[in-house]
Amino acid sequence: MTALVTVDQVAKQFPLAGGNSYLALQGINLEVQRGEFISFIGHSGCGKSTLLNMIAGLDQPTQGQVWVGGRLVKQPGPDRMVVFQNYSLLPWLTVWENIALAVEEVLGHLPPVEQRQIIQHHINLVGLTAAKDKLPAHLSGGMRQRVAIARALAIRPEVLLLDEPFGALDALTRGNLQEQLMRICEEHQVTTVMVTHDVDEAVFLSDRIVMLTNGPGSQIGNILTVDIPRPRRRMEVVKHPSYYSLRSEIIYFLNQQKRIKKMRARSVTAVARHGLEKVNLELGFVPLTACAPLAVAQEKGLFAKHGLDEVHLVRESSWRGIVDGLVGGYLDAAQTPAGLPVWLTLGGHQDKPLPIVSSLTMTRNGNGITLAKKFYQQGIHTASQLRNYLQEQTEPHILGMVHPASMHNLLLRYWLAAAGIDPDRDVRLKTIPPAQMVADLKAGTIDGYCVGEPWNVRAALEGLGFTVATDQELWLDHPAKVLGVREDWGMRYPNTHIALVKALLEACHYCDQPQHREEIRHLLARPEYLGMDVRYIYLGEPGKLTCELNQPEYAHHRFYGEGLNRPSRTEHLWIMTQLARWGHVPFPRNWLEILERVCKVNVFTIAARELGLLGTTQTSRSPIRLFDGSEFTSNQDPIDYLNHLAIKRDFSVAEIVLDRPQAAG
């Protein structure tokens, strides 16, 4: 099937006064099928209306071509009728006359009786029979837009182009009109392209949503397919499992665009003070119980104590936000999952290796695997029981995890594989932001998940699921969250880096003391951190190591201790093997070099010595012991280890070429 509308390598440049020009759009490729409903979404000035105008023929692309119905678009025409944001009705003509003007002009070959029937039909279609002899000035905004839609539909265009059609209307009218428009489009199979800035409108109406990045030089950032079946009813749409993930995907995209714009606007200058190269830091975190050290360092003034006067904690709802922040350079540092530095360094993000260093392990434990309540009720209390259950099932089961590079992904996969469940073939793993796990579990769109606290406890307390495996059943004292900074950042601000590690290590020490637990729980419950009821937040009961399948289940965070905070090469090597095992990144032939680059032990050691916390600097020589009894030691051949694993993908071994370490210029 050929596309009805084809946008081929289109770019648009506007001449500016003074001989310059503004590049509005570039490299736009898009195909719209017959009967499809497409939305363009993006921030103001991203060129979405320009793109629409180019399809309409009101604007001509500077480069590339637009084809509609097999014809090159050179000028506007009634086969591509536009509904403008401000209605564009002629104020001196009545509703009837406005529509008649279009019908007479475009369908003039039809007998007058038929023309009148068409006009009347479309006035009835939008429910304006009683108002047909009124002037636009006497109609409400919603009614005017209905006239404009009727006028557009009356001339039977091949493509209906809508430029923010409901932007100027109040919410109630907007909702009604959206439903009317959708009903008409569905009944008449109208191909529609709509420009909007309303996320819900886009999800509700569209088959596909085209998200445009910010100008200058806007491009298509992503195209989302809305898999909600038609006919759609608003109340059913909001209940559909895809609705919220689509919605959050768009909002994430728009927010990201906004931040990039902000970042471009204010080029952050480093404020040097107290012998530190930079004291104004943007520190990213995801609201989890594990963010306690950051919260404590901020609230207890530990950042300021070590000279970092202007630390700003940036709350991200997903790890993806942290990755984009580090890659984009608008986060100075972040609390990241333990696997993230290695993953980014090995090119996990868009196949571009970006050296990230880790100089502090902030938390251990605090993760768990939760399964939906129904499994508990069916007597599935272990991984092997789950395997037996899955073998009898035909429909796919979906488990959530938070990021490919997170320990949750790696531990969940390890746990499944150890029980003989292939994490890619026997179940499906889906990346979901932590805060959305419980909602998805409740909606039944996932069967379980592996995530950090408080989300396991919360599912248990809400009676939605149960913790089938805690840290104890996975890998006791596994690294969970580490401090991650870009290597070039660390080299440019070495003293700031040490000060940051000092502040956070001291905070970790504070968090680990049992007498502070209650205080920290209440601190984390505040809206700027987790923003939830304190009864879901536990810093852990390190003594209680057994997994009782009776709720509530407790988290076992460890923030500080001998050999716990020092970045461990062995652990990062194990992470490397697991990332390669599941095909996320190739295993680096130069793994020794990579480990040297990622683990900044010297920064940690300096920080710990200056704090006088010498106990933590000792290296733990003991091997990693996982729940299945296997051990992993630092002097093991990692490729040999990988080869001996039963369930794995076809992993590759490759030399990962990193740029020479250098400070950001």
Binding site: P76, G77, V82, S88, L101, A102, E105, I155
Partner: protein
């Protein structure tokens, strides 16, 4: 019952006064105060300007005031005839200005190149005072009547032309886009979109122009001696030192100007639909 209801509702005049009194009273007081001041200044001998009361006390003026319709032939006519003669001239010149101004304005408004070509000429000619046209027209045109009409035309054409041009240029892009998308024929575009959209601007031009035309005729007639008209009447009265007649004529001029403006405003309301 009837008597009762009559007693309850006030008599018609009182009702009218209650409604319109607040609007009518202040201007009446204002005019009265102005006249009183004038009367006072004139009686005090500070100026040679006669007091307003001379309109009635001076015998010749009283005749003119009370009988505007006499016609003794030649230039000796009542003020009605004088005014009518001036108005006829204005009508001719103004009509020509409207026709030329609107059509040329649309042309210039639609075509950017013509606009660029003609704009400097228009701005140049626009700045020439009506009186400055008089000698040129007297030389260029065969008789005084035509010259006077031409002066009216040349004075009143600019506001019409310029406003029409702006009116056409400011047609919202949305309307033009609608026309473009629907591929509306040029004839239909002109009558259904261009003209209605520019009409408010055209009328603004027409209203400014009627005032200017009336201003110009007086000036023109004063300079062009020997025509029947209110302008020449003033000049003649001044030459013969009938100052109170000048004042009477001035009142006529002001009143006619006011009526002309209201007339155009009324036509505008008839033609341009409220939006």
């Amino acid at each position: 019952m009837v008597a009762q209801s009559q007693r309850l509702s006030p008599p018609p005049f009182q009702r009218w006064w209650q409604t319109y009194g607040p609007q009518v009273l202040p201007p009446l007081i204002g005019i009265a105060a102005f006249l009183a001041l004038w009367q006072g200044v004139s009686s005090s001998g500070l100026t040679r300007l006669p007091a307003p009361s001379t309109l009635f006390t001076d015998e010749d003026t009283r005749t003119l005031l009370l009988n505007p319709f006499f016609d003794k032939g030649g230039l000796d006519k009542g003020l009605f005839w004088q005014t009518l003669a001036s108005l006829t001239r204005v009508a001719k010149g103004y009509l020509a200005a409207a026709v030329v101004g609107i059509s040329l304005g649309i042309l210039v408004g639609v075509n950017r190149i013509i606009n660029r070509a003609l704009d400097p000429i228009f701005q140049f000619l626009r700045m020439i005072a009506p009186l400055a046209w008089v000698p040129i027209t007297l030389i260029a045109l065969p008789n005084v009547q035509m010259a006077a009409t031409f002066v009216i035309f040349i004075t009143s054409v600019w506001p019409i032309l310029i406003n029409t041009t702006v009116g056409v240029q400011q047609i919202p892009q949305d309307y033009k886009n609608v026309a473009l998308v629907l591929q509306i024929s040029p004839r239909k575009y002109f009558f259904k979109i261009l003209l209605p959209a520019a009409l408010p601007y055209i009328f603004t031009g027409l209203r400014i122009a009627i005032g200017l035309a009336w201003l110009a005729i007086i000036a023109a007639e004063i300079v062009m001696s020997g025509v029947v008209g209110i302008g020449f009447f003033i000049w003649d009265a001044y030459q013969q030192n009938y100052v109170s007649e000048v004042i009477l004529a001035v009142i006529y001029i002001g009143a006619v100007g006011l009526i002309l403006d209201r007339l155009v405003a009324w036509v505008q309301r008839l033609i341009v639909p409220e939006q």
